[in-house]
Structures are given as structure tokens and as C-alpha cells.
């Protein structure tokens, strides 16, 4: 990934690596309790119980799915009915706008658009694909759990480091955004 120097003030972060998810979660809770910005947890598997410790997250994906499904239903029926009327081909003694076949088309398009809208919602709400460089440690894809918190001053950095050490971090690093 290409490196970009921001030029202006670079955010400094403290990262603590843990061996199991519970201590990582407890450390994140302590950091939040100590008044830091919401820490980020990086892990190879989803950690359960994050919302209780760090506060609830809303999911906008459901709105995307709903809107997508409705759009799909409308466009499915419109596609079938309007094209039947554009160039009329009477078939089989059925009406030009027949409901059972067109409702099947509507159903399929509802699901198609619902699926595509869910993907779009996922990409937008999780901010994918990542264009700018972000903090990442490869160990979190294998077997380590990381807690990352942003600090705006030096003594905040030290406080964060001490909290992480107290919570049982295997390794604590300082990361400046802009480095890899």
C-alpha cells in the first residue's frame, strides 16, 4: 500500500497485543473508563461482548436491505409489466399483464436488489475498500488480539501504555499513523 504523509499533525496511537480476547476486552474497557477515545479492537475472530463493554453500535445495513428490497420489488414488476405492454405479444389466452408470472419476477428482483443493497450497505458502513493506509498488525490475523487507542499528547500515551501493561498486554507499541 502506498504511504501518504499527511503533513499536518499525525495521530499517535498506542497498541497493545494480548493473547486472549477477554483480557483485550477488559483492557479496552479500562481505557474507555479512563476517558480515552473509543479504542479499536483487532482480532482474528469476532469477540463477543464488545457492545456491553464499549457501548452499542447501530447497524445501518438493515435500512439498505429494506430500501433495496422495495426498489427491487417495484423494478421487478415494472420491468415485467412495462415490457409486456411496450410490444404486445398475447400468448396462450392469458392477459397481457398476468399476475402470477410477474409476481415471480418481482420476487426474484426483490431478493436480488436486497442482496446487492446489503453488500453496498456493508461496504459503506465498514468503509471498504480501504484506500488510505490504516493501522494494521499482521499478528491479529493469526492469534493475537490487539487494542488500539488514539492519544493526542505524550502523557496520554504513557497513561495508555501503563493501563495496557496492567491489563496484561504481551507487547505494547507506539504507532504513528503515516508509518506502516
Amino acid at each position: 500500500m502506498h504511504r501518504r504523509n499527511r503533513g499536518t499533525a499525525m495521530t499517535r496511537n498506542v497498541l497493545g497485543l494480548f493473547r486472549d480476547p477477554d483480557s483485550a476486552l477488559a483492557a479496552a474497557g479500562r481505557l474507555k473508563g479512563a476517558g480515552f477515545e473509543r479504542p479499536e479492537l483487532m482480532s482474528p475472530i469476532p469477540i463477543h461482548g464488545v457492545e456491553e463493554v464499549l457501548g452499542p453500535k447501530k447497524s445501518v445495513i438493515k435500512r439498505f436491505t429494506l430500501v433495496g428490497g422495495l426498489l427491487g420489488a417495484i423494478s421487478g414488476f415494472t420491468l415485467a409489466a412495462w415490457t409486456a405492454v411496450l410490444y404486445v405479444h398475447p400468448t396462450g389466452g392469458r392477459p397481457i399483464i398476468t399476475l402470477p408470472p410477474f409476481l415471480i419476477i418481482t420476487y426474484e428482483m426483490t431478493i436480488l436488489f436486497g442482496i446487492l443493497a446489503t453488500v453496498l450497505g456493508f461496504l459503506i458502513s465498514a468503509r471498504f475498500p480501504a484506500i488510505r493506509e490504516r493501522i494494521y498488525v499482521p499478528e491479529t490475523a493469526v492469534d493475537r488480539f490487539a487494542v488500539v487507542v488514539a492519544c493526542s499528547s505524550d502523557d496520554l500515551l504513557q497513561r495508555a501504555e501503563s493501563i495496557l501493561h496492567e491489563a496484561g498486554a504481551e507487547e505494547v507499541r507506539r504507532i504513528t499513523e503515516g508509518d506502516s
Binding site: 479499536e40 392469458r94 415471480i104 431478493i111 436480488l112 471498504f128 493469526v142 492469534d143
Partner: protein
Amino acid sequence: MQTEVRQARFADVNDDVVRSLVVTGRNYYIALGIAGFVTLTCFFFPWFYQLYYGIGAAGMNSPTVWGTYLASFIFWIGLSHSGTLLSCVLHLTNSEWRKAMYRSAEAMTFFSLFVAITMVMVHIGRPWFIHWAAPYPNQMGLWPNFRSPLMFDVMAIMTYLTGSGIFIYMGAIPDFAAVRDRTTGWRHHLYVLLSLGWRGTDKEWHRLGWAYTFLAVLIIPLAVSVHSIVSWDFALSIVPGLHQTIFAPYFVVGAIYSGTAGIVTVMFVLRKYMNFEHYITKLHFDNLGKLLLLLSLLWTYINMLELFTGWFSGTSTEYEQLKYKLTGFYAPLYWEMILFCAVAPLLLISRKFRTSFVPMLILSIAINIGMYTERFLIVATTLSRQYLPGSWRVYVPSLVEISILVGSLALFVTLFLLFVKIFPSISIYEIKETMDAPKKQGDRHDT
């Protein structure tokens, strides 16, 4: 102590999967070579011969205008059903044993759909105009006929192809991230692109979890509707033997049945040749065997229903169809189908049978042979005996058709072999979740 054990095993999962992707033995190249060669000679060359000379190269005649191509199409769509559908259902029921096998099962779905679409192109008389079945604005002002069951097919299969492709990709994003870190060269660049910059933050996991669940909820009714729609290609006719309301459930049950048998075959192959013995265990085969037994009993029931309604109708065309199926020209095939799909799976009642690998493999292949015969019989017996006895005629597949059938299987194998070397064929993060087994979900603070 427990955390150290977990740590060693987590890293092992990454190692195993990366090794399965990167380290290629000679056996793999031989297998790929054979599959590719068979695809070329048994699928593409006969197909080009048929394109040049006409559908006459196949064995179809009037009135059996549909033959093995359509039976294969339905077979491959059926095989595609179990992967994604089963994966979605088991995801929503939070089952553990799904986690080792669902990635390959979903890949099986995707490639079966692909092969099924190729069979459509082989089947129709003028495939160079197949784009007319797609709704696009054109200078003729013509649109496809949406009242046609074949058009429902087009929409449903396109949706299912998109849906299952998206589903398998979404589930694999964290795995792409994991293998991106340990690979080099073209693989690294490919995985960098495919992983979209996944870092594994809690926010990303949360969003992925929701999106994945929504997709599973959407795909289950979709999968049920796809094979119902395929069955309506037949059931919406007024021809005896095809015009039955049982067709939609019959086909869906048959699809899940043959798809599950396909999963058993694929699991056996993966376990043996990709060194995944730790991840695909007797438990998986046991559970798959139970599911197969259930589906076999359902399938037998539906067949008995068909027999009953045919017999009950007295001396009608349905009764004639029934007599022809059981005692006519194709009777040996019918009884072979009953043997493989209704009688042999009763062996699954024994737990010992379910947990032995090679017998399960043989049974799963037998079930799929029986299910292919079922699709073939639906096409051949019903078209051979319709209303007017003056047009009764027998259909025998030609060499070209048999060769294309074999070639389609080889095409599927080739695609799947390519898949295991590019996609992580076992889900890394879900296996790791099973390794956390001592803690139940939501019960996080107890050690």
C-alpha cells in the same frame, strides 16, 4: 495453559490453509491436467461439432425434444442447492459442525451453477442468440417474454448466481486478509485486492456479521424458489406426467438431497488430498449422513405420492405414464434409481456406516447417479408417452450427449481444482471460533 494451547492451534490453522494454497504437489498438477484434458476433449470438442452440424448430433427426436442436456442442467442446478442453502440454514441455527465445510460447499454451489448455465447453451438450438433471453433495450424494441417459466429460470438463476457468489466472497474477506499477509507475488496482490483492506476491527466484524446474516436470510427463500422455478419449466405444461403440483417440493427436496450427497463427496476429497484431517472429522460425516437419511426418506415419500396419485387416477394418461415408468423401456433405469436413492441410503441408519469415510463416499456417488437418473427419467419417460399414441417414441442419448455429460463433470472438477488453489477452501476464522469451544457464546467473563 488454555491460552497457550489455543495460540499454537490458531497459528496451525493459518499455516495449514496457506500451505494448502501455496504448496502444490505433483498430484495436483496431474489431476488438473487430466481434468482439463477431459473437459477439452469430452465437452468442448463435441459441443463445437454440435454447433457446426446442428442439434441433430444429439439423440433427440420428435416428440422427445428434450434429452440429457436438460436433465444435466437440472442435475447441476440441483447439486448447487445444498451448498449455499445448507450453509445459510446452518448459519442461522448457529450450528458448529458447519464451519469446516461450508466454504467448499458454497464453492460447489457456485461452480455447479456455472456448469448448469453452460449446459443451457449446449441445449438450445441457436445459442448465439441466447442474449435475447436477457432483458436489455434494443433496436428491435423486443423484450423477453416474462410470462414464460424459462424466463423465471433466467431471473432466478442470475439472482442465485449473484447471491451465492457474493455470499461466498463476503464470508471469505477475513480469510483473504489472513492469507494476504503470508503470501508473495501475484497471490499477494490478488489477496490485497480481494480483502478490501480488512483489518479485523470490532466495527468490521460487527458489520460483516450483520451483512452475512441478512444475506443468509435472503438467500434461503431464494434457493427454495430457484429450484421450484426450475421445476415449473415442466409443471406448467399440460402434458401428462409433467403437469403435477408436487413438482416444486419434489425438485427442491431432490436438489437438497443430491447437493448434500455432493458435499459428502467433496468433503472426502478435500480431507484426503488437502490434508485437512483435523478439520473435517467423523462428526461432520455423521451429521451429513443424518441429513442425507432424512432427505432420502422425504424423497422416497414424494415418489410414493406420485405412484399413488398415478394409480388412484384409474385409466387416465397419468396411469399410462406410471405403467410406462415402472414397466416400459426405461424400467431398468427406474429401478436403479429406486435402489440407489431410496433403498441404499437406509444404510445410513447405522452410526458405524455414517462415520466410515469410504462407504460414505461410495454411497454419496451412488445417490448422485440415482438422482441424475431421476432427472433423466422425468425428461425421457414423460416426453415419450404423451396424449396422442401416434407420436409415442423412445429416446436414446447419442455418443455426443454422453460425452458432453462426462465433460461437464470434468469441467466442474477443473473449476473446483482451480478454486482450491486460489480461495482458502476452509474458513480460517470460523474454525478458530470452534477452537474457543469451552466458552459458550455470550458467556465471556467466565474462564
